[in-house]
Each structure stands twice: as structure tokens, then as C-alpha cells.
């Protein structure tokens, strides 16, 4: 049965379902995955929907294979995605690095649950934020987005594809069990109102094509396997031809390119959202579900006469260093609110650079942080108790 890829209209759906719909609206036509709580509903929805839009869903033997299939499908020219959680995210790390090194666009949705290891499989956390940044071996840059509602699961999954295709980089959608299983209003706009981006395509003579010769913004045009362009794709350090070159110089050049395309376009990539920040003495820094807690806490604290504001990280990675540095000069303190024991907090502390104190309202995982915990911290550091 054929159904539209974009289900224009108003829905009451979960974050997981909305992420799946966002992927389809972005033009994703390949999903490989392995079921894992609490990300299974993303795969479930996609499994039902892909055949309706002429796409492919494949359940692989594990998450290592799932990520490999996603990288492969994208090399063949199809927008590709997977979704996972907990141990599955760990298993995907090796091939996430392959996507970085081969500059293969793809999207990975991580519906975070409490770890380490099997942890609390059915309960939410935000404990994979540093793994998202550094989980694969070697040094690299990538992009991570953190939706705070089912509506954002839809929009930011589209955004993830657009950024991924623009910069030929894997993009992580770092959601969590709470948002993943939360049902709320999701408005899906008409298809023509949704902006989608596709990777820069290869042009010119097929026998002279250099698959890793950077174009505008430092991003090389990409040929799909089978189009006739000469391509070579490897996880080994490679030159513009894609051929392995085992020299220090080739390594430096390749690293410069894969890091540079993110670092030199930070302004285009980084997204933050400010709430009551203009006159704030204390800045809550938060993302995903914890940003909702923080939003409630800002209003409660303001009622008590504490001038609090919120800086929401829509893109935790790349981290908005400049924003924190600018704020550090004029505020009395930062409070990072996150369901882990201090991960993005380390970044806030680093960028505050001692010019403003950085506090943490963290949680070991398993539940949402209540606004009172944040208000209590604000009372304490503002000297109200």
C-alpha cells in the first residue's frame, strides 16, 4: 500500500514515532537496525512505513552490522539511518568512525537509557553525551542534536539529515527514553514546506574524479557507487583519490579536512535557544528532556526573585564555546542540568574558564530531574537559603 512519505497534519505521537516520520520526510529511504529498548519503536514505525514509500528496512544480526549497512547504503547514494540505545550505541562506535573517516552522510538516533552496560533498559538518561563526542577511536568532529519534544524529534531528524548531507558527516540525534516514549502534539507540515538537502554530487569526467577533493565549505562532492565514477572508499588514511597513503603528511591533510569542514562552519551548524537570558544572573545550560525541567525551574526561580535564564543546547556538539565564554563575563554562575553525573558540565566549566562558577544538577539516570532540584540549587548559589 502506497502512503505519502510526509504525513501532513496534526498528530498525537511519541518522540520515537516522530523521529521515524522525520527521517522519511527528510528523504531517508534506507534503515538498518537491531531492536533495542527504548529505540525499538523507531524501527517498528520505519519497518511499517518504508515499504509504503518504496524504501528499505532491514533488521541486521546486530548493531555492528546495522551501522555497517547504513554506511554502505549511503555510499550507494541513499539517505540512510539507524536507531539504537545503550549497548547498541557502543557496538556502533567502530563503524561510526568509518563513516567519519570515509565522510559518509548518515544519521544515528540514540534513544538514551541509563547505563553503564545493560543498566536500566526501560528508563531514561543522558549518559552518552561524551560517548557521542569521543566514542569512536581517534580524533574527529561530528554533529549531535538533542530534541526536547516529539515535535523536535520530527524537525531535528530532518535537520540531522540536512546537516549530514551538507557536511558529509554522521549526525547523531541524541534523544532519550523519556522524550522517545512521551506522546505529545506533532504538527507535520506540507511536504513542499519542508526543506531537504542532498549531498553535493559528483560532476565532470568519470575517469578523472577525485572523491576526496574538497569543494565549497571544504566538502568534497560525492559519487554514488555504481554511477561510473572511479571511487575508492577506505577507513585507512587516504588522499584525494581515496587511496591509502601511510604517511604522516597524508594523515595531517586528511584530519585537517574532516575536522575543518565542521570547525570552519561552526556558525552555520551550532544552534542554541535562549529563554529569559537577557538579564539573567544564573544561566541554566541544558538540552533534551532536561531542558524542559530547566524551563519550569527558570519560571519558578524568577517567582522567588532569582534572575535565572536558560541556554538550551540544540546542538550539544559542536559545543557553543563562544556563547559560554561571552556569558561567563557577565553572569554570576552556570548550572548544567543533565541526567548524568557531569558531562556537558565539563564543557561549560572549561569554557567558563573560572570567570564564572559552574555548578551541576546531575542525576545517575532512570528518571527525569524534577524542577525543585534545580530551584534548590539556584536558591543555594544565590544565597536565598
Amino acid at each position: 500500500m502506497t502512503k505519502p512519505a510526509v504525513l501532513t497534519g496534526e498528530h498525537f505521537m511519541t518522540g520515537d514515532e516522530a523521529a521515524a516520520e522525520g527521517a522519511l520526510a527528510a528523504g531517508c529511504r534506507f534503515f538498518a537496525g537491531y531492536p533495542i529498548t527504548p529505540a525499538t519503536e523507531v524501527a517498528e514505525r520505519i519497518a511499517e512505513r518504508m515499504p509504503q514509500v518504496g524504501g528499505t528496512f532491514i533488521q541486521m544480526e546486530d548493531e555492528i552490522a546495522a551501522m555497517a549497512a547504513v554506511v554502505g547504503a549511503s555510499c550507494a547514494g541513499v539517505k540512510s539511518m539507524t536507531a539504537t540505545s545503550g549497548p547498541g550505541f557502543s557496538l556502533m562506535m567502530e563503524n561510526l568512525g568509518l563513516a567519519v573517516c570515509t565522510e559518509t552522510p548518515c544519521v544515528l538516533v540514540n534513544v538514551q537509557r541509563a547505563g553503564p552496560s545493560t543498566g536500566l533498559p526501560t528508563q531514561g538518561a543522558q549518559g552518552d553525551m561524551m560517548q557521542a563526542r569521543w566514542g569512536s577511536h581517534g580524533h574527529y568532529d561530528l554533529i549531535a542534536l538533542a530534541p526536547a519534544s516529539p515535535q523536535e524529534c520530527f524537525h531535528l531528524t530532518i535537520e540531522a539529515f540536512n546537516l549530514s548531507e551538507t557536511y558529509r558527516v554522521p549526525v547523531l540525534v541524541m534523544t532519550d527514553e523519556i522524550i522517545g516514549h512521551l506522546s505529545e502534539r506533532v504538527v507535520i507540515p506540507p511536504a513542499k514546506a519542508i526543506k531537504t538537502v542532498s549531498r553535493p554530487r559528483a560532476k565532470g569526467r568519470k575517469d578523472r574524479f577525485l572523491p576526496y577533493k574538497p569543494g565549497p565549505r571544504g566538502v568534497a562532492p560525492m559519487a554514488a557507487a555504481g554511477e561510473g565514477y572511479r571511487i575508492h572508499v577506505t577507513g585507512l588514511t587516504h588522499d584525494e583519490r581515496g587511496y591509502p597513503v601511510m604517511t604522516v603528511e597524508a594523515q595531517a591533510e586528511m584530519m585537517d579536512r574532516i575536522m575543518g569542514k565542521i570547525r570552519n562552519n561552526r556558525e552555520d551548524i551550532i544552534r542554541t535557544e535562549a529563554y529569559r537570558l537577557d538579564d539573567a544572573d544564573f544561566v541554566l545550560v541544558s538540552y533534551g528532556v532536561s531542558a524542559r525541567t530547566s524551563l519550569a525551574a527558570v519560571d519558578e526561580a524568577r517567582e522567588l526573585g532569582i534572575r535565572a535564564g536558560l541556554l538550551r543546547l540544540v546542538t550539544p556538539w559542536p559545543f557553543p564555546e563562544e556563547k559560554i565564554r561571552a556569558l561567563a563575563g557577565r553572569v554570576k554562575g552556570f548550572v548544567t542540568v543533565e541526567i548524568n553525573l557531569g558531562q556537558m558540565h565539563l564543557e561549560v566549566e572549561r569554557c567558563a574558564g573560572g570567570r564564572a562558577p559552574a555548578y551541576l544538577v546531575g542525576h545517575p539516570g532512570g528518571t527525569i530531574i524534577p524542577p525543585e532540584s534545580v530551584v534548590d540549587m539556584l536558591k543555594r548559589i544565590s544565597g536565598r537559603t
Binding site: F12, P38, T122, S183, E184, R185, R292, L295, A296
Partner: protein, 199 residues
């Protein structure tokens, strides 16, 4: 429940609880859908997701509000619906003082708890209709008439949209049974109350 000048609740928090398998989550989903898509208000549903959703005391937490809902968890509900003894024991103490308690009369024994409640034999009524699994929809009808937290039309539309194809009519009948039971109960109470004042 925050009251506006008009006397209509601006924000209502609801917990529906019962055994996994009774359709508790579906009831919550229908309620949220009715509020969001039918009544054009804001609503969130947090569903219990562990092993309890397959047998233990499972719950659906629904918030309905006229403004965005930053914190979607329900700690002290304005309305508590209990469709099992386990659910009543686990969540009964959380209900706000002036809150509304709804129970399946045959499945919940309240013992010495003498709080006012609205009781309906939802499961028995569903059995009489030939489908025990529609007890949740009967309860939803009952909840709609007793509390008015969603409009009957929005609730009926959400029921029809959420149940398996081909069972819509049957489920609307079940909803109406619960709704009428609630309406009759309210009418009886009003009569009794006016009798007391000697009017």
C-alpha cells in the same frame, strides 16, 4: 487543578492505573489525543514502559493544559482512575486532597479508605457487552462524563480513531455505556444534594 476565572481547569493531571493488558496505556493515549486533536489543548502522555506494562501495576500519566507543559510527569494527580487493586494500592495515596477518584467497583476494594469516589462496574459491563477488553473504553466514557476533562465529541472521535478497524462502533457503544452511567450517577447525586437543602 488550577482554576481559571471561568471555573474551568487550566491544567489537569490524571493517572490511569490498572493491570498491564487492560488497555490502560491506550486509554491514556485516547485521552491525550482527544485533548490535543479534538479540544485543541496541550497534552502529554507518559506511559509506564517496564515489565509492569505487561502484567503488573501499570500506569498512564496524562496532563491536559491550556499552556505548554514543560514537566510532563504527574506526581499528585487531580484525577486518579483505578482499574485494579494493585494500581489503587500503588497510586491511591498520590491523589490530591480535593482530587477525583474513579474506580472499577468490582476490582478495587478500598477498605477503610472513605474518600468520595465515583464507582462503576466497568469490567462487568464490558463482559455484558461481550468484550471484556473494552472495560478501558467504558471507563473512559465514565471519566469523560464525570470530570468533563475532555469534551464528549473529542473523546468519541479519539476512540474511533484509536481502536482496531472494524471495532469502532462497538467501542463507541462501550464509551456511551460508561458515559451514561456517569451522567446518571451525577444526576442522582445532584438530586440527593438538592433534597438535603430542602429545595
Amino acid at each position: 487543578m488550577t482554576e481559571t476565572e471561568k471555573g474551568k481547569a487550566e491544567k489537569t493531571e490524571i493517572i490511569i492505573t490498572g493491570f498491564g493488558g487492560q488497555g490502560i496505556i491506550l486509554a491514556g493515549r485516547i485521552l491525550g489525543k482527544a485533548a490535543t486533536l479534538g479540544d485543541h489543548r496541550e497534552s502529554t502522555l507518559v506511559q509506564s514502559y517496564g515489565p509492569e506494562s505487561r502484567g503488573g501495576a501499570c500506569s498512564a500519566q496524562v496532563t491536559i493544559s491550556d499552556s505548554p507543559i514543560p514537566y510532563p510527569y504527574v506526581r499528585n494527580p487531580d484525577i486518579l482512575v483505578c482499574m485494579s487493586q494493585g494500581g489503587y494500592e500503588k497510586f491511591g495515596g498520590l491523589l490530591r486532597e480535593e482530587g477525583t477518584l474513579l474506580i472499577d467497583r468490582d476490582l478495587v476494594r478500598m477498605g477503610e479508605d472513605d474518600r468520595p469516589r465515583f464507582a462503576i462496574p466497568a469490567t462487568r459491563m464490558a463482559e455484558e457487552l461481550g468484550r471484556k477488553m473494552m472495560a478501558n473504553i467504558i471507563m473512559l466514557g465514565f471519566l469523560t462524563s464525570v470530570t468533563g476533562v475532555v469534551s464528549p465529541r473529542a473523546a468519541r472521535d479519539a476512540v474511533a480513531e484509536s481502536v482496531p478497524k472494524g471495532t469502532e462502533e462497538m467501542n463507541i457503544t462501550a464509551f456511551n455505556k460508561g458515559f451514561d452511567h456517569g451522567a446518571a450517577l451525577l444526576k442522582g447525586r445532584r438530586k440527593k444534594a438538592s433534597g438535603k437543602t430542602g429545595a
